[in-house]
Symmetry: C2
């Protein structure tokens, strides 16, 4: 099952048996709006504060994914979940009511990749019949955590991305009926190219994405022609160019197969989100609203899904640290 | 391999093949001081700030555990690691140089349990020959993250614990020679009894610990007589009493087998740490300096190791939220 240096090949691929996406109003107005299961017209979700709203979205996405997969929460053995906030409070307060034994994960915006990788390993390893993997972010909780108070109304450079308000959740199951199968994972490592601009996360994360793509190619002895799509999480317009350039230098032309969830989820012209969407919720929502349905319908046979994370905090940033990146790759195929 | 509702039994138990502990000066002066591999006389570890010091301890503990296990970092397939800081910056900046594919984990002070559980599942599942599991905390980074500036010199109530400056790391390996074997895990779930006092974490975490202990007993059809020791992470004096009382109500007298790492690591009379030690590093350092060697020597045949986490952040606390707890149980036995 070990494959190459950092990858795992699942001989009996676990299935994604259920999926759900919950997102905010702005995401609902974007190109994927009609594909997202639930659009919250109130970004507070009727709660007292932004953090509670993000927790509410997690709970809703979890419950919906479980329901859509035709099971119930008592039959989900483990939960793999995370968010962007310090000490994962969106997850802790969003999932307690589910009463499912929980592994809390932090991979910045790569968390959905980490959650699916560990979930698939757990199911394939015979440790669970069914698990739930989930990640969320919220524009307002992220601005509060990482940047400026919303009321301050600071200007954003064009390299900045817009944190997606949303949560995506998948139920992973051993065989049976399913939406798609998970055939392998490539676990990312922390890659630090010395980027220091927290308003240009795409540049910080691109080298991590490139590292994982190349590792995946090497471990499985494939190249870009093996995939219908290679889809990063939230590199946005700036990161996209860097990935294409870096891959070209390595002898790979990704232009025809490459996509980025951050570019797909917002309308660049109409929505004023600058470089695109970001946050754990960006790749999670795009996966559960657009990518998985396309694979289910057979439009894409094989996808390398690569959520990308920028590993910084306000403390590390203020201490003048660089912003390392990480990307976890999940190979998802048509059943 | 599924066992009961939340546990996993390893038919071919993975081995803990290497262990290392690095800690601060105060921990060095405590009862376990002579057992800890490296005592840093300078809590800054020669770095510019506390966070960089914590990262340096992680790197040192990782390298030493790898060395002591007789392998090299290139042969460690995956790293499971975490800390208490927002966005896991101690881990991100401490482990990048190791160049090992990394799963970032957050379970508050339960992280060492989570890291060992996932590490053992990964090795036992055939996904890796060797992995590294690790967790750290630092008194000064935690005070800065969760409480008051050190220079403010605030008074601490007697229910408060003292965050351990330290890191513990273990290499988990498929068979071969080893220190101890991991025979099972019981994955904790988030338990919220409505505790709200962030200066009394023991009370907040105790119900989570009790839940996991009872789940472990049920899943493996055992009771307290099955273990030589049941050892929680960092409940301290206050949490200890609650665990003993709650377990008694459930018909279990734990008095003769129960220990808490937070009580072991500091000298209550001489070190002025009030309720005891806490932090991810508390259970990790105690495991790697005292618990594992005792199991290796056969003094204890079977231990239930239960790191305990309090799931709060300053944001959740300031928003008036309760403090849920979680505990992950790992069954460690003499080879």
């Amino acid at each position: 099952m070990e494959k190459g240096k950092a990858s795992i090949h699942f001989e009996e691929p676990p299935f994604i048996a259920g999926m759900a996406s919950v997102a905010g109003k702005k995401e609902g107005q974007g190109p994927l709006g009609h594909l997202i299961d639930v659009i919250e017209q109130d970004d507070m979700c009727g709660k007292e504060n932004w953090e509670a709203a993000e927790s509410a979205m997690q709970k809703k996405a979890a419950q919906l994914a479980i329901k859509k997969s035709g099971t119930e929460k008592e039959k989900i053995r483990y939960l793999f979940a995370g968010d962007l906030l310090g000490q994962l409070i969106a997850t802790s307060f969003g999932t307690a009511d589910l009463e499912i034994p929980t592994f809390g994960l932090y991979g910045a915006c790569s968390t959905m990749g980490e959650a699916i990788a560990l979930g698939a390993m757990t199911v394939h390893g015979g440790y669970a019949e069914q698990v739930l993997s989930m990640a969320s972010s919220h524009f307002a909780t992220a601005e509060k955590q990482f940047r400026f108070p919303l009321a301050y109304g600071n200007q954003r450079p064009f390299s900045a991305t817009w944190t997606v308000t949303g949560c995506g959740a998948v139920v992973i199951r051993k065989g049976g009926q399913g939406i798609a199968k998970i055939t392998g994972v490539t676990v990312g490592r922390i890659v630090d190219f010395g980027a220091r601009d927290s308003m240009n996360m795409g540049a910080a994360m691109a080298p991590g994405a490139v590292h994982t793509i190349l590792q995946n190619f090497e471990d499985f002895d494939v190249d870009e022609t093996y995939y219908d799509r290679i889809i990063t999480g939230d590199l946005g317009e700036v990161g996209r160019k860097i990935v294409l350039d870096m891959m070209k230098e390595e002898g790979h032309d990704l232009e025809s197969v490459y996509m980025d969830c951050g570019i797909e989820i917002f309308d660049k012209e109409k929505q004023d989100t600058h470089a695109g969407g970001s946050g754990c919720g960006c790749s999670a929502v795009t996966l559960c609203s657009m990518i998985l349905p396309k694979i289910q319908r057979g439009e894409w046979k094989r996808v390398l899904f690569l959520p990308t994370g920028a590993l910084l905090s306000t403390v590390s940033f203020n201490e003048g640290k660089s912003i390392p990146g990480i990307a976890h790759g999940v190979m998802i195929e048509c059943i």
